[in-house]
Symmetry: C2
Subunit: 255 residues, 2 copies
C-alpha cells in the first residue's frame, strides 16, 4: 500500500528525480506481491486521480485504489443514509448514484473554497435538525501545502461542526482502522501479511500499525526529521525513498 495523495497535490514532490518512483512501483507490481494505493484524496474523484497518476507514468487502474469517497458511498448505502454533501466539486461525481433528498446525515470532505460561512452553517443546520446527527468526515487531515501556502484541511472544519453540535464524526480515511481494513479486504490479505509505505507518521504509519500491519515511513513528501522521534508512533523502518522501500520488500519476499 502506498499513499498517493500528497504527491499529486500542490508543491509536494515524490523524491529525487534520478529514481523515478513509477518504475519502482512497476517493479513491485511485477513481483508476486499484491499492491494497492491507499489515499485520503477527497478533492478528486478516483477516476481523475488515476488519470493523473497514469499521466505521471504509473501503471495503475481504479480497481487498485482505496479512496474515501467510494468507501463512504458503500457505508451510506449499507446504512440507508442520505447525505447533505459539504464537498469539493471535484468529487461530486462519486456521489452521483446516492440519494441526497431529505438528508439524514452530513458528509464533509476537503471542500476547499466551498468552506464558506454559508455552506458551513447549512451543514450545521442539517445536523441540528436531526435527532441522531451523523457526521461522516473523509479523512481528518489538519492541513496541507499548496503553492500558495499552507491550507486548512477537512479535519479542522470537522472539529468546528463537532464542537458546535456536541457530536463526534465518523472518519472514513487514514488513520481510521476500518479504512485500512477495507483496503486489506479488497486485496484479500490479512493485516499481518501486509506492509504500509507512507510519508505521514500518524496517518499512514500509526494508522496501519493500529490495524495490525507493519509500516515503513519514507523520508519524502511530508516527512520531517522529528518524525523519527515521534512521542507516540514508531515506524517499523525508515527508508529514504520508494526505491529503497521496494528493494527492501523484494529482498524479504525472496527469503
Amino acid at each position: 500500500m502506498w499513499p498517493p495523495r500528497e504527491h499529486v497535490k500542490g508543491s509536494q514532490t515524490w523524491e529525487t528525480l534520478d529514481t523515478p518512483p513509477e518504475l519502482h512501483f512497476l517493479k513491485l507490481k511485477r513481483s508476486q506481491l499484491k499492491v494497492r494505493f491507499c489515499t485520503n484524496e477527497s478533492q478528486k474523484s478516483r477516476g481523475d486521480l488515476v488519470g493523473l497518476l497514469r499521466h505521471m507514468g504509473f501503471d495503475i487502474s481504479e480497481g487498485e485504489v482505496t479512496a474515501p469517497a467510494p468507501a463512504t458511498c458503500l457505508i451510506l448505502k449499507e446504512r440507508g443514509l442520505r447525505p447533505h454533501l459539504l464537498i469539493h466539486d471535484g468529487i461530486r461525481s462519486e456521489f452521483a448514484q446516492i440519494d441526497t433528498s431529505n438528508p439524514n446525515c452530513v458528509v464533509i470532505a476537503d471542500a476547499g473554497e466551498s468552506f464558506s460561512y454559508q455552506n458551513m452553517n447549512k451543514a450545521f443546520q442539517v445536523l441540528m435538525e436531526l435527532d441522531n446527527p451523523v457526521l461522516i468526515s473523509l479523512g481528518k487531515g489538519r492541513y496541507y501545502k499548496e503553492t500558495s501556502g499552507l491550507m486548512l484541511d477537512v479535519g479542522a472544519y470537522t472539529k468546528a461542526l463537532e464542537y458546535a453540535c456536541g457530536i463526534k464524526a465518523e472518519v472514513v480515511g487514514k488513520p481510521a482502522p476500518g479504512y485500512f481494513q477495507s483496503a486489506l479486504q479488497e486485496m484479500g490479505v490479512e493485516s499481518h501479511e501486509a506492509i504500509m509505505i507512507g510519508d505521514d507518521i500518524v496517518g499512514d504509519v500509526g494508522g496501519a500499525q493500529r490495524c495490525g500491519m507493519r509500516a515503513l515511513q519514507v523520508r519524502t513528501g511530508k516527512f520531517r526529521p522529528s518524525d523519527e522521534h515521534h512521542p507516540e508512533v514508531k515506524a517499523d523502518g525508515y527508508v529514504d525513498n520508494l526505491a529503497e522501500a521496494v528493494d527492501l520488500l523484494l529482498q524479504y519476499a525472496h527469503q
Copy 2:
C-alpha cells in the same frame, strides 16, 4: 451583572412585554447595589451596543459594560502583542489604537460572513509562522440564533484553528474565570459579594460560579427546561424573568 448580548441579537426576546426589563434594571440601579452588564458580544463595538440598549430604554453608559473586545485590547497592550484580526467589521473600531503590523498573535471573534476559507487560511498561516503561536478567542460560543436560522459562533472556528495548529486558544469572555474577575475588579467588589443573572447555564451560571460568585438563571432567552437538570451546573436559583430576579435581590439586600 446581566448579559445583554443574546437579547439584542437576532430573534431572541427579553421576556413578556408586560414586564419591561428596562424598568426593573432602573429599579436595580437606583438601589444601593452596584450593577454591571457582562456580555460576550463580539460583532458590535461597546459604543454601538450601549447605543442600542439606550434606544431600548436602558439607562446605561459604556463604563458599565464589560465586553470582550476592550478586555482583549488591555491584554494585547500588557503583553506587547500585535494581532492579526479575524473579526467582524462591526468591532474593528475597538482595535483602532492597536498595532497590527508584523503580527505575533491572532485574535478571533464572531466574524460572521468574514469566516471565509481564505480568511481562515490567512489566520492559520499567521499562527503557523510563529514559534509560540498565540490565539485569543473572544468567547467560545457554539452557535446562536438569527432570524435566518442557527449560525455557527466563534467557538466552532476557534476549534478549527486549535486542531490545525495543535494549540489551545486563550478565551476572553464568559465563561473564562478571568473575564468575570475583570468585571468584578471594575465594580470593586469581591466574588462572594456578587451575583450573576443570566440565561446561559454554562456560559453565565457555570462560569460565574467557578469564579466564586452565586448565579441565577432566568427562564428567558436561550434558557431550556433541561437546563434545570444540567449534568454539571446547578444555578443557585431560577427566576422567570428579570423582574423576579430584581425583586429577589432587593428583598435580600434589605435584610
